[in-house]
C-alpha cells in the first residue's frame, strides 16, 4: 500500500467486468473473487470537494489539504487527494489527472 505508482490501477471482476478501486475481496455484484489488475486512463472530473482545515490524526503536518470525490472516465468514483497550489481555486466539473498513489491514497492534479 505504501509504494508509489504512476499508473492508476483498478481490479476488474472476471465474472461481471465491474471495475474497483481500491480492490475488493469479493465482487459485491456476484460474489466472485477472480480479479485481474487493469490500468485506467487516470483522467476524471471533480464531483465534489472540500478543504480539510482540522485534520485527522496522522495528517496534522499536511493541513490544510484538499479532498475530492472524482468521477473517472471509466465511470467509477474515487475519493482522492487533490494536489493544488496554495488556495488554488477549483470547482465541481474541473478535469483532473492521476499523479501517484502514496500512503494508500490516490493523488490527482487539476488539468488547466
Amino acid at each position: 500500500m505504501g509504494g508509489t505508482h504512476n499508473r492508476l490501477m483498478a481490479v476488474e471482476c472476471g465474472v461481471c467486468g465491474k471495475l474497483y478501486i481500491p480492490p475488493k475481496y469479493l465482487c459485491p455484484e456476484d460474489g466472485a473473487n477472480q480479479f485481474t489488475e487493469v490500468p485506467l486512463s487516470g483522467q476524471g472530473e471533480i464531483l465534489t470537494y472540500t478543504t480539510i482545515r482540522v485534520p485527522s490524526l496522522g495528517f496534522e503536518d499536511q493541513a490544510p489539504y484538499d479532498i475530492a470525490v472524482i468521477r473517472l472516465k471509466e465511470g467509477i468514483n474515487l475519493t482522492a487527494r487533490i494536489i493544488s497550489q496554495e488556495e488554488e481555486e477549483f470547482n465541481i466539473g474541473d478535469k483532473v489527472s492521476f499523479v501517484k498513489k502514496e500512503g494508500g491514497a490516490h493523488w490527482f492534479t487539476i488539468v488547466s
Binding site: M1, P22, L47, T48, Y49, T50, T51, I52, R53, V54, P55, S56, L57, G58, F59, Q62, Y65, I67, A68, V69, N77, L78, T79, A80, R81, I92, G103, G104, A105, H106
Partner: protein, 388 residues
C-alpha cells in the same frame, strides 16, 4: 410472523454536555434508574438489558459495560445483558433489539439504554476513536474526516439544487434557538446567522457552528408489551414503526452524493410498518451531526422533495410552530452528541413531546419520528412513535 405491539412506558436521561466528575457507570445508572421509576416497574420485573455504546473501549479502556450497568442498578443477574455498537446509532440499535425481544414474545419488559463519556479524554483520542467508523482500508487513508464527509455532500447538494450556505447556516440558528429552553442541552445560548457565518472554517464550506459538539450523557427507556402498558402508566407511547438498515462504509461508492441510502430505506420500512406517510408526522428528532445533514436527512426521510430541504428551513417549515418541527430539542447541533447515547436521547425528547411534557412543546403532537445515523451512513435507524 405474528409480532406483538411494544410500548415505551418510561424514559430517563442525564443532561448532555460537559458533565465533570460524572462517570460512564454513574450516568448510565442515573438514566436507567430514572426510566425505571418513570415506568413504575419493579427492578425485578426487567427481563433483559441492551446498552448502546461506541467508544468507551477506545477512550476509557472500559469494555463489557452492559453487565457493569446491570450490577450497578442491582438488576436480577439471571437476565441477559448485551452491549451493541453501530457508531452514532448504537443506542437506537439497543432500542430495536429490545423491541424485537418484546415483540416476539420472548420477554414482556426490557430495559434499553445508551451512554457515552467523551469530554474527559483528549481531543486527539476522541477524534481518533470517532474516525474508527470510516473504512480505514480505503477512504480513511485520504485523511477524510466526518465534517469533511458532510462538507463533500453539502457542496454537491449546493451544486445540484442551488441550496445556499445561508440556508445551511439557518439550521444552526434554529437548533441553537430551540435549545435555549432545554435543560438537557449542552449549548443554550441563542445565536444569529451572522455569528454562524462568521465562525471559524473547519472544512469548506462548513464552519464551527455547522458542527455538533461532543458531550457526555446517557439516556434510557423501559419497553413493555403494548397489551400490558396501561398496567404501569397512563401515558404509554407505542412504537408503531421501527427499522434498521445498512448503507455504505464510504462516500465514493454511493451512486449519488446528495443522500444517505440507509436513511431512505429505513424510512421506507418504518413508514410501511406504521402504515403512515411522512405528512402524518407531527414532530421529528433527526441526526443533525452537521447542519447539511439536517437538510439531507429531512429529504431522505420523505418530508421534502430531494433538493428542497434548504428552502424548507428558510421558509420556517421546520421551526416549532411550523408545519413540521425538526429538532425542537436543539438537535445534536445544540443538545450535543454523546455518540452512543444519542439515539435514546432522541427517543426521550419525542416521548416527552407525545406526553405533552416537553419544555419546547409542539402543540398537539401525537406522532413523532426519530432518525439516527451511524458512521458514513453505514447504519441507520428510524423509529415512529405514537401516543395513545
Amino acid at each position: 410472523m405474528g409480532l406483538r405491539g411494544v410500548s415505551i412506558i418510561g424514559v430517563g436521561s442525564t443532561p448532555f454536555g460537559v458533565l465533570e466528575g460524572r462517570t460512564l457507570k454513574e450516568m448510565a445508572t442515573a438514566a436507567c434508574n430514572e426510566a425505571i421509576k418513570d415506568a413504575g416497574v419493579d427492578r425485578g420485573q426487567i427481563q433483559a438489558f441492551y446498552l448502546g455504546n461506541y467508544i468507551a473501549g477506545m477512550i476509557l479502556g472500559q469494555e463489557t459495560i452492559a453487565p457493569l450497568i446491570v450490577n450497578s442498578l442491582g438488576l436480577n443477574r439471571e437476565i441477559p445483558s448485551t452491549k451493541v455498537e453501530g457508531a452514532c446509532s448504537s443506542a437506537s440499535i439497543a432500542l430495536r433489539q429490545g423491541h424485537l425481544l418484546v415483540a416476539s414474545g420472548v420477554y414482556d419488559i426490557v430495559l434499553v439504554a445508551g451512554v457515552e463519556k467523551m469530554t474527559s479524554a483528549s481531543t486527539e483520542k476522541v477524534t481518533q476513536a470517532l474516525a474508527s467508523s470510516i473504512d480505514m482500508e480505503t477512504e480513511g487513508l485520504t485523511g477524510l474526516t466526518f465534517p469533511g464527509y458532510w462538507a463533500l455532500i453539502a457542496r454537491r447538494h449546493m451544486y445540484e439544487f442551488g441550496t445556499t450556505i445561508e440556508q445551511i447556516g439557518m439550521v444552526s440558528v434554529k437548533n441553537h434557538n430551540n435549545a435555549v429552553v432545554n435543560p438537557r442541552a449542552r449549548f443554550r445560548d441563542p445565536t444569529t446567522l451572522d455569528e454562524v457565518m462568521s465562525s471559524r472554517l473547519i472544512t469548506d464550506p462548513l464552519k464551527l457552528f455547522d458542527c455538533c459538539p461532543i458531550a457526555d450523557g446517557a439516556a434510557a427507556a423501559v419497553l413493555c408489551a403494548a397489551e400490558m402498558a396501561e398496567d404501569f402508566t397512563k401515558k404509554p407511547v407505542d412504537i408503531i414503526g421501527i427499522a434498521q438498515t445498512t448503507g455504505y462504509s464510504s462516500l465514493y461508492e454511493q451512486a449519488q452524493l446528495v443522500a444517505l441510502p440507509a436513511t431512505v430505506s429505513a424510512a421506507k420500512q418504518a413508514f410501511e410498518m406504521a402504515k403512515l406517510k411522512p405528512e402524518d408526522i407531527d414532530v421529528v428528532e433527526l441526526h443533525d451531526c452537521f447542519t447539511p445533514a439536517e437538510i439531507v436527512d429531512a429529504e431522505d426521510l420523505g418530508f421534502f422533495e430531494k433538493g428542497k430541504g434548504g428552502w424548507a428551513v428558510e421558509e420556517g417549515i421546520t421551526q416549532v410552530g411550523g408545519r413540521l418541527p425538526v429538532n425542537p430539542s436543539g438537535g445534536l447541533i445544540s443538545k450535543g452528541h454523546p455518540v452512543g447515547a444519542t439515539g435514546l436521547g432522541q427517543a426521550y425528547e419525542v416521548v416527552k413531546q407525545l406526553r405533552e411534557e416537553h419544555e419546547n412543546q409542539v402543540a398537539g403532537a401525537e406522532i413523532g419520528l426519530t432518525h439516527n445515523a451511524g458512521g458514513t451512513g453505514g447504519v441507520c435507524c428510524v423509529n415512529i412513535l405514537k401516543r395513545r
